[in-house]
């Protein structure tokens, strides 16, 4: 359905470029033709009618001692003008430093955080081929506690 809408929208847009205005038509008993055509046309505002939502985790919780990759993935839903795109990336803040109430620190790293480009239309829940993960390489030598670090997800919209 969305693909059909996109094609129809494209066709209409082509017409909108070549014809400034359609004049009213009248059919009378004297008209050469007893029929006339009226086009149905959609219009849109590229700035206000395009929409997208990139959903990211509210937080990533890591069990103590678990050095495996942790899911920090995001998903994209979008309906943009033809030729527009989204680029989504994720990166660790402060070099991945995680702090606690004590003086020790831990470090986390982000994998698959490089920018991924998405096309104009994406169904809800669309994910990149390799989604973002975070991991802590070692928990050794630090007191057990709640350590917190921050990562930032960034979305860049490119108009058509």
């Amino acid at each position: 359905m969305k693909k059909i809408l996109a094609v129809a929208l494209a066709v209409v847009m082509m017409f909108s470029i070549s014809v400034v205005a359609f004049a009213d038509q009248t059919i009378t008993k004297d008209s050469e033709n007893q029929y006339a055509t009226a086009d149905v046309v959609t219009t849109f505002d590229a700035e206000t009618d395009a929409s997208y939502t990139v959903t990211v985790p509210s937080s990533v919780q890591i069990a103590w001692g678990d050095t495996s990759a942790q899911d920090a993935g995001y998903s994209v839903e979008s309906q943009l003008p033809i030729g527009a795109s989204l680029a989504v990336s994720a990166a660790a803040n402060d070099s991945g430093t995680m702090k606690s109430s004590g003086s020790d620190t831990l470090t986390f790293t982000v994998a698959n955080g490089a920018a991924t480009t998405f096309g104009p239309v994406n169904a809800a829940g669309t994910e990149p081929e390799e989604n973002v993960t975070v991991s802590i390489a070692s928990f050794k030598g630090v007191a057990v506690g709640t350590y917190t670090g921050t990562m930032t997800y960034t979305v860049v919209y490119a108009a058509a």
Binding site: S51, M98, G102, G141, A143
Partner: protein, 163 residues
């Protein structure tokens, strides 16, 4: 009906535990970046408390008759990775006593070293590897006692306390 509701509630709670809460979104109308906290837990992936320690003591300390020329020692050790602000406190139940053999004879002994008399506090949450300690055992009265195996028991007590 109540059983059905309780099962449904249990299932819902399980789902709440399993499914992470995706609450942050970036849209065309919002800021184009969002910060997400990466947080460690104090439990391991099986849900067990992660803080741990081990204090290792010998089952028996054998002392040759008349003692060892360089001294006789009770060797013990500890490692720890505790929660922030915690340390180990280790103490012995005596500073000395009498080794006995079930008769009226006995051999007096004294103990000296960390954890004897006053509790030993490690002063840190995390040790760099294993820390080794010694308690000297000084036995006297060898010449006055019949030759036999004399023994006594020393009890170590360990607690986790605040730094």
């Amino acid at each position: 009906m109540k059983k059905v509701l309780s099962v449904a509630l249990a299932l819902t709670m399980m789902l709440l535990v399993c499914v992470p809460a995706f609450a942050a979104t970036i849209t065309q109308d919002s800021d184009k970046s969002a910060n997400v906290d990466v947080v460690t837990k104090t439990t391991d992936k099986d849900g067990n408390p992660a803080a741990s320690f081990t204090v290792t003591i010998p089952g028996t300390v054998e002392i040759p008759w008349y003692g060892t020329t360089g001294g006789d020692y009770l060797n013990w050790s500890y490692t720890s990775q505790l929660e922030i602000g915690k340390q180990l406190q280790i103490s012995l139940d005596k500073t000395g006593g009498a080794l006995t053999n079930g008769t009226a004879d006995s051999l007096a002994y004294t103990l000296s070293g960390d954890a004897v008399g006053t509790a030993f506090e490690t002063g840190e949450e995390v040790t760099e590897g294993t820390v080794y300690k010694q308690i000297e055992v000084a036995v006297s009265g060898w010449d006055d006692a019949a030759v036999a195996a004399y023994s006594d028991t020393v009890t170590f007590t360990v607690a986790v306390v605040d730094l």
